[in-house]
Symmetry: C2
Subunit: 263 residues, 2 copies
């Protein structure tokens, strides 16, 4: 007897930005598994269901349990904030399934339900920073050696990518963003716009728009629910927004008169 | 008299993956503007509203018109597929507003509504390719010189980023992905997994899982609604899925017995 396993991204933590498919999957499930903070985000949808709440850093056990429950016939939603396909639980689920020799033909159905990730939500809050090519980096070196991440920062700087940083810092993990800033300052102006968005779309949301030079003044805004967006050579700020142009000005005038005559 | 301007991402084109906020904004609007293919995606939500459908490549006129309509008191939704904050209309709206000296205090309210972009939806369909740092690149050199894009491909290759490619090719734009492949082959194995997802979550969806060596055999799957995901040195395939491990194996065994004893 086999059930279903949904890996559900509920978005930035406000139901407004959850997808219909995410809600539907949670409602269809009899069993909910997740890090307790994420489970709390969907508390109103899970009344009457069997709920397993986990503490942080128990990801391997969580993946194993979800698979076991689904194999026993349960319809299970493993919930997470954002998009489980971006630094999320999707990978560990498939790794664990692969290790166990799973095949999609076996009967255990797995569906990853994508969501609005921090890169999507934070960009929308701060303006339009992702109109050009960008690199997404996690500063967490718990599972990836710092030397590899550092090399990627250097590469992203050389390629003039806009950079989105997940997990910029924690109480114990401080130097990584500081080192990243130093590398970027070799390639970018100290006035390069930097946004720190903390708790996007939650009640506690705070937004800081600063620059590479002044970033260290805002270390109190960094943490596990913060995202940092660093502009590239084209990024500018306007009215507390971070704007990256997609080159239209090189081809068109954006002034009203010209547009009306012949865009 | 001033209205509101919503820049709405409706996700990959299937209502399931639209957010509640996107639907709400469209329903609240009296005026809908958008590229006709995108407007058709939400046909059932816009009965009775004033609808302006645009052909491709009229982005500047579209942005201007939305702003004019909102300034005249309309509640306007500029709709697009995916996330308007990723290579989308958010940038052109803010650029045009900045050019006109707009201030958020003027009364014209602008809200970017993020959505499930191609990077989110395509990753969820093909497995878990985005568990590690990744670079997002558009192959369109209509507004960005090819030399800049080429330099970024080189940087992304050097940084061992997983790479997500938007707009990989069009009928007239063929060489860019071919050149990208050649650059990547200087750094990556010909067996590096590559996925081409066309029309994600639409009825016409097709998925090809291939590798860098064989990519040219699948050029018929490239086009304006295709996304290409190229693995890095850690990416592997399993049962037609593309999996990127997040280093758990280096710290934990994923086998059931070990997990049960002490995860």
């Amino acid at each position: 007897m086999t059930g279903k396993l949904y890996i559900v991204g509920v978005g930035p933590g406000h139901h407004d930005h959850m997808t219909f498919r995410a809600k539907e999957a949670i409602e269809e499930s009899d069993t909910i598994v997740g890090y307790e903070t994420y489970v709390n985000l969907v508390q109103d949808l899970i009344e009457g269901k069997t709920v397993y709440r986990y503490a942080m850093t128990q990801e391997v056990e969580r993946a194993r349990q979800c698979i076991d429950l689904a194999k026993s016939g349960k319809i299970v939603s493993l919930v997470s904030s954002g998009d489980p396909g971006i630094y999320g639980m999707a990978g560990l689920i498939y790794e664990t399934l692969a290790e166990a020799g799973w095949s999609p033909k076996d009967g255990l159905q797995v569906e990853i339900i994508p969501g609005v990730s921090a890169l999507n939500s934070c960009a929308s809050i701060i303006g339009s920073p992702l109109m050009t090519d960008f690199a997404v980096l996690s500063m967490s070196d718990l599972l990836v050696p710092w030397e590899i991440i550092e090399k990627r920062v250097e590469a992203a700087a050389q390629g003039d990518f806009v950079i989105v940083i997940y997990n910029p810092a924690s109480k114990k993990r401080i130097h990584q963003l500081q080192d990243t800033r130093k590398i970027l300052l070799k390639y970018r102006s100290p006035l390069t716009p930097v946004a720190i968005i903390k708790g996007a779309f939650r009640e506690s949301q705070t937004v800081v728009l600063t620059d590479l030079k002044s970033l260290p003044e805002h270390s109190d805004k960094l943490g596990m629910i913060s995202t940092v967006i660093i502009g590239n050579s084209s990024t500018y700020t306007y009215e507390n927004l971070m704007v990256n142009p997609r080159g239209y000005k090189s081809k068109y005038s954006l002034k009203q008169a010209d547009v009306k005559s012949n865009p």
